[in-house]
Symmetry: D2
Subunit: 306 residues, 4 copies
């Protein structure tokens, strides 16, 4: 009964992502049902995995509005190695939750996690212009605040609205259409899921501080026609101006081209931290080229049978 | 009397940065004294420049713990062009401010801007373990909260402590030594400050979505021995998986090598937004190579005098 | 009355090339008629220019069967600088010349320059199977040998056949169709001919002996979309295994992209010898990209008018 | 009793090279003594291998004065595949051979292979200024001419001087010190000799005719730190301006880095003809980097044991 840590309390988007990962069979649970373990932060969820208190953690890693989720990246890059095994992308759409019987005109205070508040700012200005924002610790906590009477309405999730016995004043609320968040399932290092043909590989590079070091590393991907889908520099915490680099690219460590590129990065970089290879479900870029034909040709040369 | 917008209220780190920029003669004020204009956010400060309500804005762009300041980057990349004219880096160190007469043992509530709270978490746990955190809207607002009696202590700045007539319970408080924030002075497009030999140039690239496009763009810098000091991918807001890239590099648009590289980026990229060339005071990487000797050689060839 | 040195005696392909260059107005003769000066070798023709005994030399540089003409390349690379001003390509086709009255069945000996003999070997085997080859010093000398009665037939040129009062036994004789030779007009360094939009630039590179030095130099052309049309390594005469490199590419030193690339090669290589920029008449590859639009964009940035 | 074709007649430098290859155990003869088979040209020697009339051919491929031996390159690139198994470099130094009793002052005619004549031109001008050159078909044939009384002296080899019962008028004659010729042993395709750590690999590339194609191919070597020791473009015989490229580099097809590079070239080029991997005896450049450590690292990642 694998335990999966996630940003709680119950009812967060992260829990919804966790449920969806499970429903899609993306959690290596050995057929057993899972046990969600709420934690107070995404960093705490990853710490629970490192400490052996959870088998996996479900954490947000990127969203289409704010970019990378920095605490997740930093926690993956530092400390004992962790590895990503699956991912899932959810549309971001909030539910405005109220206690049964509350009408829009009754709302004078709205509890909201600040990140969520920023994403529905325009909607609130148009639909609840006189209500005052009250900060909450998570989307689920906002619903709890309403259930406890500390606010009239909450910017929350469908799951939390249901969990805390609230009513839906408005559904699918979001200022910016197409806002989505990508969640990943993280565990301790192990053999990656099998190559599916639609996979993502992720690494963290430490580079020697010389001009051209990053472009040289990226060239190792480019010459092998590997599609880099994301790059992010993050300060190394040793001082302003030194960076590590998070790179995502299309393909699996068992693809010949990706294996070659990984070996090359290992040779060229001060350090390469492997964050895993896992299926993306849909193809997210140009698939890595197959090397089979070239390998067979090489074998023939070695045998003297060109 | 140039007006300079900044994240207010009075007493924020940003105001301290603004004062330091002015004291160092880095604000093109034509000799007049400046007028600070507090705004409610960094985005609002930049909007004031675009609207003609301020001549410049002073905004944080990067700190050594959290990386890029995303709202600043996004606001620079979207909308009417803006341009950076100067930068200044401040050590991040907080002042714990109290009303005169308050002792540490008296403190049961501490007002703090959440970002600041995260940076002094360990110090608070060790020194004020029983005090409860109360969220504030800025470091200066935390001091106001104390002045108004809404909290016993504030995680604030030296400047705000002085402004609001508070006492210093502890100075230079920060969990992580060497934490620093870099601020930039932003105005409407204009001729950049003169080349000093220790300059930074910054651009935002939009690239065609093909494998190798980013490495090709970066190669234009690498072949000219231009030192890339920062790269950041940000979603373009049109969907998860499409990115724009913020690049900082050493040198000035009037350096021949940088000029060549800029022309090359313009040819190669779907769009290049120039964020300016400005002095960094200290050299922050490898200076761009001079091209004078090669240019003189070429001139001789053209005249038939090799 | 400019003197033009060429591989003599009268009647060689080189003289035919020289006549064609003149007829096409490609010799910078200032309107005066030219004076051909026969020399005993292509190296001697180039030496005559260096010694001031000729204004220009017309020499073969490449043919489609044997590749580069090594003595020409080596002579251009060593000694006082020379520069190419024009080129012309001739189809290679021999004339079998005989004294008036001689029939094919009369031919028992054939004078031939060995290089020419190799190019008509099959034709001779089929048409004059019993004739014996006698070596001659040039295609023209072969005709002289026939005129002087030292051989019955000559593998020669149309021009020499006419000059020495011989008859044509067979015309347009060549084993391999499409054989062509490219000739160049070489003088002392001077301003190159004007850029025509269909030009060739040629350089000789000396590189530091480190892995990747050549590819780094060639990358300077590739990033600027300059079309490399030929590369030739030649030993430096200081020992087996050290090389200089002859590169031809499309474009003129006055093309912005070529100018940039030349400056870059000068920075990157131990030595760059410029062999000239000159019109090719027809476009011989992909024209270098114009940089005007990018330069205008850069100017606007510098003036603060993006 | 393996038959080895070579440019005859007996006594050429090529025969000397063949004897030296055999003495050094570089001919895969299975312990049997070899049978030299003289041919009339290097092209004929290679044809004898293709026709099954010889097991191997010994042919010159490069010399330090004239560069590549074009007929050897062209013959290796066209027709049925051949493969190089060994190489040997000889200092070029001629013997001036005379019939017993002949003194320098007696010499009025000198037989010489034209290539050899060019390499001793200065020596002849200084030492035998009045003697007239008579062309010969090879260095050995020049000695035969003297033995048969058709000339007084021969520019020949030590081996031929001995074979044809001549005396040595002068030894070690050559204008340019350090002149050397590299010979290769060529056979039908087969498993290459074992990797020795000091090996050479050679290929012929056909590239699509687009700007940057060559630099892209060479980048595949450069990114793997493979040391390119020679590059030669040769016309493809289909027309002036289209080329194939001969590349030599340090390393053996069984080196991981070379194997990777070969697969990459196969993917990237229109055609790759493998000319073999063979020992050079001495290291001739920077050895290819070992990939073992990186491969072991990758294996650990795949097993989940970073």
């Amino acid at each position: 009964m694998p335990g999966i840590a996630y940003l709680g309390p119950e009812g967060t988007f992260t829990e919804a992502a966790l449920r969806a990962l499970d429903a899609n069979g993306l959690i290596p649970s050995g057929g057993e049902s899972i046990t969600p373990i709420p934690t107070e932060s995404t960093v705490a969820a990853l710490a629970a995995v490192r400490a052996g208190e959870a088998d996996f953690a479900c954490v947000p890693i990127e969203n289409s509005i704010d970019g990378s989720v920095i605490p997740t990246l930093d926690s993956l890059a530092d400390g004992a190695p962790l590895q990503v095994y699956a991912e899932l992308t959810l549309d971001v759409a909030f539910t405005i939750a109220v206690r049964p019987g509350t009408r829009g005109t009754d709302v004078t205070t709205i509890a909201a996690f600040p990140v969520a508040a920023a994403q529905v700012k325009r909607w609130l200005a148009e639909n609840l212009p006189n209500a005052q924002l009250v900060p909450a610790n998570s989307n689920a906590a906002a619903a709890q605040d309403v259930a406890a009477g500390r606010a009239d309405a909450a910017v929350s999730t469908a799951l939390a609205t249901e969990r805390y016995g609230l009513d839906t004043l408005a559904a699918d609320v979001v200022d910016e259409a197409n806002a989505r968040t990508r969640f990943v399932l993280v565990g301790c290092p192990g053999p990656p899921p099998k190559c599916t043909g639609a996979d993502r590989t992720s690494v963290v590079l430490q580079l020697d501080n010389v001009p051209g070091a990053l472009v040289a590393a990226m060239t190792e991907l480019a010459v092998r026609d590997i599609d880099l889908t994301r790059i992010e520099s993050r300060p190394t915490r040793t001082g302003l101006g030194t960076y590590m680099f998070f790179l995502d690219f299309v393909g699996h460590i068992d693809d010949d081209s990706v294996a070659e590129a990984m070996r090359a990065l290992h040779r060229r970089c001060a350090d390469v931290r492997y964050l895993g290879s896992w299926p993306t479900g849909d193809v997210v870029g140009a698939a890595p080229p197959p090397f089979d034909e070239a390998a067979a040709w090489l074998d023939r040369l070695r045998e003297g049978q060109p």
